[in-house]
Symmetry: C2
Subunit: 319 residues, 2 copies
């Protein structure tokens, strides 16, 4: 029996809860159950499997509130899903949650970019030392194939990565290409729920940068971090070049030596130029295939929950 | 020790031979060796590992010529790589090679579309019955992720597939969009080695159709075959619509009930519209992610050899 503890029950946690129960039979997961939820908003819920999301939110079966780290330590769960908010400063409290779970010999799935971008070597090292798995597909392009594409290309040497890793800024730039101002497009994105009230993580390029760092660590390019890479966002940008032969994108560019996020003019013939709206994309250049490209949603409830299901199946299949 | 028998030593066989030796150490394949080659052109070569391609072609170490089926039956190899030419009528001789190998309890990797499109159920059933693996990534989009993307999306329900599965016709259509005639573009493709002298498999849509059938079988949509799907190629086509708001593509379209290959007008906003030249692409629509797209080379020596390496690693890792 695999027992799952969910830490953080916002959009991602709720979407995973729903998708897990929807796909459980199809995936042969009858022996896996969501055993416990730890939420700062809804409390500490044991055996939530029989409840609806609304019942969980209403506090049914919620037991005494507890610090999440304590819950992780005391839990019988062998898989901890970390879905709390991103904190770009030190990755807390997510990093402590993940660290505690790994130290207790539990597998971890996270969609939280902070811990993976800031403490990649420490956390993956700890997982290896304890003989458990640490999975984080959802941190880059949600469930859309991104760094996990490399599993389908054994032996291929990665030479370069280019990407559009942030849907909010890509939406804003796509709208601006129609002739609107930055302010108008940001307001539109906020009214549509595409941008948050405080959208600085997106607008100033940090969300893209964290994803660039995680992608490069997976490849083994370990030197890039927030302190040494060029990070430039799109705040207040204007598109003066109105002709239709080129497109402005917030482009992530990584190779072994350099990493950057910055507004970049692409020619219309560039395959990344036609990636519009909230879509994300990655172009991977390898020695055996040249350039391959993956395009799809980079955020959203179900798209992120798919990433968690992908990680979960890898843990369950190898356990 | 894994022993590989290569049947068919044309472009794909030679490219795989080279890539295997280039990547062998990196992939930890010291315990796997190319043990034998059976070629109608170069003869039957034992222990070719120490030879160069030129030495093999010159007939060094070639022993008495033998029927490939007999070689497969007598070989100590436990992995047979089938790289002979496609025959759309009955899939022979490749189908017999694969059948023989599976019956002898050997794993099979093939890049040959004929057997997989024409005899999918029989061959996969035989592999299952004998407890061996039958791998065929290279049949659709070479090493570029195509149907194997579904491994990264456990639980996702596939609703629809659209694809550009033939690089030759996509090159011709891309060139025609610049104002040239079909005949000019076909001649150009032939002069560049992109189209063969007899390019009817590509031009008339059969190459795309075989790939569509294989893709749909992998998903579990078993009803489609060459006899019941709509297949229309681009022979003698003209592009009268010269304005830049739309693009003509030879589009594969599949769902559970219908499958077709036909010239299709796409709007410029369609992500498949910007897939130009010899590139291939697939768009997979699922319940959890909506549309995801994979773009990359669909043919070529090394790109196809990458597919074989991908298949090989799956066999070696699970053996």
């Amino acid at each position: 029996m695999n027992k799952i503890l969910i830490v953080g029950f916002g959009n991602v946690g709720q979407a995973f809860f729903e998708l897990f129960h929807e796909k459980r039979k199809l995936l042969g997961l009858e022996d896996t159950a969501i055993y416990e939820i730890s939420s700062t908003t809804y409390g500490h819920i044991k055996n939530p499997s029989q409840l609806t999301i609304d019942q969980i939110k209403a506090g049914k079966l919620s037991v005494e509130r507890q610090d999440a780290t304590e819950t992780i330590r005391e839990s019988e769960a062998d898989i901890v899903c970390e879905f709390t908010q991103v904190n770009i400063k030190d990755g807390e409290p997510a990093s402590s949650h993940i660290r505690t779970a790994l130290e207790c010999g539990k597998n971890v799935i996270t969609t939280n970019k902070g811990p993976m971008a800031l403490h990649y070597e420490e956390l993956t090292g700890l997982a290896m030392k304890r003989g458990v798995q640490l999975k984080f597909k959802g941190t880059v392009m949600a469930g859309t194939p991104s760094f996990n594409l490399l599993k389908l290309l054994p032996g291929a040497e990665v030479q370069k990565i280019r990407g559009i890793f942030n849907g909010t800024t890509n939406f804003i730039l796509s709208e601006m290409a129609k002739g609107k101002s930055f302010g108008e497009c940001l307001a539109l994105a906020q009214s549509m729920g595409i941008a948050e009230a405080d959208s600085s993580m997106d607008i100033d390029g940090f969300d893209s940068a964290l994803k660039a760092i995680i992608f490069s660590k997976v490849i083994g390019w370990s030197k890039h971090n927030l302190g040494n890479m060029e990070i430039k966002g799109i705040r207040g940008i204007s598109i003066t070049d109105g002709h239709c032969s080129s497109v402005l994108k917030l482009l992530v560019s990584i190779d072994k030596e350099e990493a950057s996020v910055k507004p970049t003019i692409l020619s219309r013939g560039d395959p990344l130029a036609s990636v519009d709206g909230v879509l994300n994309a990655v172009e991977i250049t390898t020695d055996t295939l040249g350039k391959i490209i993956s395009i799809g949603p980079g955020a959203g409830r179900t798209a992120t929950a798919q990433a968690v299901m992908t990680d979960l199946m890898e843990i369950v299949r190898t356990n």
